[in-house]
Subunit: 336 residues, 4 copies
């Protein structure tokens, strides 16, 4: 249930509605919007009687919410969520490009790639320090050393950084070093991790699970918002299907659907969707065409020597060319 | 096995190679290209010894073909296939827009929609006369009467028409009336129908099966080429996955993959991929972004009254707006 | 809408109801059952008013049918359909074993295998004469010669035979030679072929499409019943999923679901589901455990030399052992 | 690489080979088997030269391991792993039945159900105390109180208990109370949780991820074994596909494939595969038919009032009847 207050409702009227909701045994959550305040009713089991609230002073309308998700919903908050990191904004009309290697392998590797991608126009640097790997015998990332290298990259290039957190135990240290906390596809329904992310002070990049429906994905984001962190960026990275010419199948229609259902920004990871370098550029342009809010792209100066995901990493010159195309295409939409 | 002749090879040298191949018990198929002739060796069981042909006069090189498909392959014919229908061309750098209702319901309905879409910039009119329907109790199309209406649309608007053929029995009559013969997703591996299409004198639009791999799809096209008809247009229309927010999942990476593997033009059907009107425009733009050779879009002036697929049909004004966006985006690629 | 007549309703009363339905503009189809007659109302667009029929003489009850399929539905006909081929019956409590090679390759091959499988307890011989193949360059079957070999097998072993029909053109000849007409997975929604099968005088084995829902599959069967042939055997043969350790994923729960929804017999093809010999025996036993009405299993005396599907064909001794296990397990159910 | 020692190899010879492996910079892991000892070489990047080891005293043969998994592999350890919990054994020829409610809701509910299932023949009691739920607003389990109720059930009925662990923070307490630690489908690739489970002193039940390949699943188990806990039970619970008549599609062929690839016991969860009560019994019997080592089945005495998964829970009398069928069918295999 969502109670939409009138444009000119006073703070007293808002407080009054909140108290009334609580007296009925529900939880109230005021949601300040650009033009007016709405008040969500949470934790109701079963339906709530709308007529109870319709005639309270300052109330414009009462909207029953039929979606299982609430706080992530556009019904709840019609305006786009805009996430600010220093002078950067993610969401709305902006197109944010995140780029870098799959894993941080050394300071030299990270700085080489960072210098390339920042020149091409990337806004944010990506790189894994803690790596979730299918095999326990594969390279698992540099850990804290990798985080320190990310901090140096930020210092020297000015780019904020995004890196994945894998568990509760290393959450504090990742949160300390990074600008955006990434939750990977395998952890999309690791609810304890989601709750911890909901208490973080930094934005969270939430990748879609490899066989998750949009509803399950938005519900996972709901866990984060429910704990108090509304700075969530969704990331479509392809789903698992019978198709065998790409590692995953990019669900391109998920972008317009999510943008309609939710106020949260949504970006696309064409590298993990494709799994093959040749498909990364077309998938990136398709994402821009459907007005995704950004891209996260794997780039490596020597993909053949990469310790992970080499086959899907772009060469710096490919990334540079792609950035030009992305910007040209994006300008079509911003001009409109 | 593909034998590539030298740029200046004479007709005699070509004939000589063909005869030599046939003497070895294989079938030879000369493939004229823009710059040179190649000769394919067909029906070989197991591998053929390349050294047999390498030293024949006029031979430039001998390429073993590792793909199961041959005549549809870019190894076989490196240049894009361009299909001509009157003054229209499909393939290469062109973007062809096909539009119209799911089914022809009446002359008035067809003419109303046709007049709308031609004004918006559609090049080809689509509309079903014989409809494959999941239920035997659903509207099955107007049959020959529908074909006659299509012919009138062509006469009055100047647009060529495309319509589906469902079986051998009605193939002749469909071929007589239409400009492009469509083979639907459910018939992609109806091999008898493919062979009949291979003997047709008109271009064939071959939709991807709803759970077909790209290899199976190209092999289906191979059946048509193998019978002598090289005028095939491929059409990606989404594949069946667990995803439930769209009717099918548009496999957007299939476009760059097919364009690399094959010389045949490939278009996108966003209407059947989406199944929902709201997603049609974004999917169309994504298709343009990955440089598909065209689009086939369902449009209806009164979707709520449509006898089939109303929920995914655009209103004429939506189609008009979409055409403008498509053309703006496409111009980015042609300018390059 | 289904009108269930009273146990003792007279033929006059039945005729009267039929006429009344027809006067209202609908089509009536009487369905004789073991205990009573029901009358289906077909071709109604939208819902029919039940109260019109409730008070007619001899009417017990009027059941609105919410499923899109009608004649295949258990609501329509509660008793199991039993198909008779000579002294054999398919359906009900029986377990019918069909076995033989993927394709008929020669009389010697067919007779060798047939002699093996009949000794092991197979009831029906399978073997392809017209083969649908992904590649136009693969072995396409012996055609009519294959049908003649099947006829000899029947004559010498006494087993009825089942073979696939691929198209309208060869339907008459296949129908002439075979005892059961198989429609393959790629033709499940070849509606013209289904209609032709509906006019056949012999039972039809309808394989599930490789990405078909149960509803689509039952609707395909509905096409056959709608044309007048109620002798349809359904065959689950695995569906296409992301799983890569088997060729397809056997949808084992489809068997109890279909048996609940429909009165038609349903058998399982473990060979095409598995694609790998080792999995054929376990999948066969799983099918028996869920009370499938039969199995269709590929067997070859020299799988390594088979012209198709060798990797999934059982050796005769494996089939023999499997038959013993099948019969032991099946006896558990018949004893109950 | 696996070094298989001779039947009569001495401990000195084994120690000698281990030291030799370590001198080469690899890690050696001796694996005692029924008849002989094998020694695995772990953490080798790239291939290891087999000839280095072939001539050491006591070595019978050196087997290169081509699978990405090692310790879970049958090549590594040919004999079935048998897990002992008190007098119960899981694995080998035994069929272990685990049953109980989705979630522990109260002591009364748990005891009621436990008394039913133990009488029907269940060996182990299941029940969730910490529940992973798609929605943050759904019932999340009783937590530690639920664990205490499980302990009482064990005390009063004699059945060991299995319950899910969701995170690192609650691992210690779950491990303290339960007999088998369950890792759920959403956490199959929560690698930190897997590592923690690898240090546990109790057996781990590892459910398959809802879109995991068998290789990924076995690699997840490898994480647990790699940390030192070889007591892992695998659990197939259906995978996500396009199929919509069941919640998931039970991948029945996974059982024989896993039994061939790995020495670990594998059980089946028909309740989550089906999602619908009617399909639970047939899927259970199919699992027995493919020789799964056990079943884990949801049972509730009042499913309509269950706080989760009511629709897929069996009534006690249904479970009782099913147990009888399971045992009759299982006896077919043990008699052989």
């Amino acid at each position: 249930m969502l109670i939409v207050m009138k444009h000119l409702a006073t703070q007293d009227q808002i407080d009054c509605v909140v108290k009334f909701i609580e007296k009925k045994g529900y939880t109230a959550r005021p949601i300040p919007g650009g033009e007016r305040v709405s008040i969500g009713i949470l934790y109701n089991k079963g339906s709530v009687d709308a007529s109870l609230f319709q005639n309270l002073p300052g109330v414009k309308e009462v909207i029953p919410i039929t979606r299982p998700y609430k706080q992530v919903s556009r019904e709840f908050k019609p305006e786009d969520t805009i996430i600010r990191i220093g002078s950067l904004t993610i969401g709305g009309k902006d197109l944010t490009i995140m780029a870098g290697p799959c894993a941080i392998e050394s300071e030299k590797q990270a700085m080489t790639i960072a210098n390339h991608v920042v020149k091409s126009g990337a806004h944010i640097f990506r790189g894994g320090a803690f790596k979730p790997r299918t095999s326990p015998y594969s390279f698992q990332g540099l850990g804290e050393e990798g985080l320190k290298i990310l901090a140096k990259v930020r210092k020297e290039t000015g780019m904020p950084v995004v890196t994945e957190v894998m568990d509760f135990q290393t959450f504090d240290i990742v949160e300390e070093y990074t600008d955006i906390i990434q939750i990977g596809t395998r952890n999309m329904q690791n609810f304890s991790l989601l709750r911890r992310a909901g208490k973080a002070k930094k934005p969270v990049l939430l990748k879609r699970g490899m066989a998750a429906t949009i509803e399950e994905w938005l519900m996972a984001a709901e866990y984060i918002l429910e704990e108090g962190n509304s700075q969530v960026i969704l990331c479509e990275r392809g789903v698992r299907t019978f198709v065998n010419h790409s590692r995953n199948t990019l669900d391109i229609s998920a972008i317009p659907v999510v943008k309609k259902e939710s106020h949260l920004p949504i970006i696309v990871d064409p590298s993990h969707a494709a799994g093959i370098r040749d498909q990364v550029a077309p998938l990136s342009l398709a994402a821009v065409a459907v007005e995704a809010n950004g891209l996260i792209i794997e780039v490596h100066h020597a993909p053949d020597e990469a310790l992970s995901d080499g086959a899907q990493s772009l060469y710096p010159e490919q990334f540079d060319l792609l950035c030009q195309k992305i910007k040209t295409m994006h300008s079509l939409f911003t001009r409109q």
